[in-house]
Symmetry: C2
Subunit: 323 residues, 2 copies
């Protein structure tokens, strides 16, 4: 089934927003693209890159006449954005987003959505640690999941239209309860990011001479944490502010488990350590079997770093970074 | 300055041991290679791969007549190994190793080392998450650091001979106090591994249906943790048993910092979260500037995964996995 929208409005044009613009254009999913963003310099950059057809600093202007509106701004800005665009939303339009949390989005945006507008929050699980309009590329979503969490009462046919849009951009689509999404993402994404930010912060507090050696010997595992911890600060601040309950729940479990490990190290309980270290290999295996990773060793990253379609294995950084 | 050894004895032939065999051969650094390992099937595998000239299940036999002996077995086996090879070590030989901890190695091996044998523990900071003799490749050490921690009284000229051996295999070499090495590696390598093992363990305890979604959405950060947590269980058990003090010290700092973050999430302290998330970018930048990483986004790993020399960016898994 082919899907086509008359006018796509992107509110925010960071990594995710610009990638949607490029992918939707390439796949001929839209007639025209309106781009709204808060900062004039970001808008100028988007215009310079030729990402859209209409450029404006007023979100309401971008959504006027649009049959698909996607919020690609930091989640913290959603409430105010929703209030400002609500009067301009067209009857029958789909309103969606790309934020990393979903229950909060339903809560703060939902009340502003007029009757006759189909509100279907979404979360493409794709990203890199880079941000801004120039960071986007059309293949970002290829082979990656996109989760949709439709508001109550949205007709299944509308959800299917949006799902088809994402599939055309290369995504695999799954519908899910928003609260469940938030719990799963808390452990797969939010806690790993929190831990990575934390360990890099611990290093930042080390004595200067030790710190320079940490940088030198970073290939020993730490380097991967710094890549994760280089993600957009505002976006991640908003993730932790808006998915608090799920993050604290999963962080509690993580800390309980870490206490057990800490005691095993302190008491020299080798059997317990080895048992855990053996068990975790099974999870790795299931991820490889699920096609979300290759079994090949991580021999390093190409210096050329071409956007790789289909086989691209990307890190999640959820929403865009500017609006 | 060219360096050449008459007979290299490798005790243990996992990832690191087999990579040394291949690199030393290719660079013509040795006349012959003797390989000793504990398990007959591993020895047969090494023989099948043509990694050496002499194959034996007796470590003492391998070291006889060797002017360079490198322990590539799990650190937990070092004490017994040192006792068994001591009588066979040749006067003037260099005895080294590749373990991820160094103070413990000096403590358990040192007392067995006869006068006239030069004991210079080493740690090549290179690796992949794969183990066994077939996992090795000659380019593993290219562009990676190797830390040497000579025992007291070793003549500098002997340390320089070993350093030259590593440089010929592509490494950059640094000498360091063993205790300082252990503290730096605790935060750059051991804590990241402990945390990765822990978070994957937390997931393993989730309800089955949630777990399958975790696997599905693993691209959101979790996948990187599972790769780290797929490392050799016995080797990592030994790391935590033998670098206990440094690990507990750094884990203490990590947990203090995490408590502060946890409170910031609980109280909704967005300013504190954003400040940390911004500060950690600077560390990332210094790692890229130090040439230990590229700025290119992590667009994914090649399915071909060719061994990449010079530009290889590898994860540390320290010692070999079998002896």
């Amino acid at each position: 089934m082919s899907v086509r929208f008359r006018k796509l409005a992107l509110i925010g044009i960071g990594l995710i927003g610009s990638s949607i613009a490029l992918a939707a254009r390439r796949q001929r999913l839209v007639d025209s693209i309106a781009i709204a963003t808060r900062r004039p310099e970001t808008l100028a950059e988007a215009r310079g890159l030729g990402l859209g057809d209409i450029y404006t600093l007023e979100a309401a202007e971008a959504v006027r006449g649009a049959d698909l509106v996607i919020l690609c701004a930091p989640v913290g800005a959603y409430g105010a954005l929703a209030a400002s665009i609500a009067p301009a939303l067209e009857q029958g339009a789909i309103l969606s987003d790309v934020g990393s949390v979903k229950a909060h989005v339903l809560k703060v945006v939902g009340p502003h959505v007029p009757d006759g507008v189909h509100f279907i929050p979404g979360h493409p699980i794709a990203g890199t640690e880079h941000s801004g309009p120039a960071a986007g590329f059309a293949e970002l979503f290829a082979g990656r999941w996109c989760v949709l969490t439709p508001a109550p009462g949205v007709p299944p046919a509308q959800t299917e239209r949006l799902a088809a849009f994402w599939r055309e951009m290369g995504s695999m689509v799954e519908c899910m309860d928003a609260a469940h999404h938030d719990m799963v993402l808390a452990i797969t994404s939010h806690i790993p990011h929190l831990v990575a930010y934390n360990i890099v912060g611990t290093v930042a507090d080390l004595e200067a001479d030790t710190q320079s050696e940490v940088v030198k010997f970073s290939a020993s595992g730490f380097r991967d944490f710094t890549r994760i911890a280089a993600s957009d600060p505002v976006m991640w601040r908003d993730v932790f502010l808006t998915n608090r309950e799920a993050v604290l729940e999963m962080l509690g479990r993580f800390l309980e488990d870490l206490s057990v490990l800490q005691r095993a190290v302190r008491t020299g309980d080798g059997a317990r350590l080895e048992a855990l270290f053996t068990r975790t290999r099974a999870i790795r295996r299931s991820i490889i079997d699920a096609g979300q990773e290759t079994a090949a060793p991580d021999f390093g990253r190409s210096h050329e770093a071409p956007p790789v379609p289909a086989s691209a294995f990307l890190r999640d950084h959820g929403g865009g970074d500017d609006a």
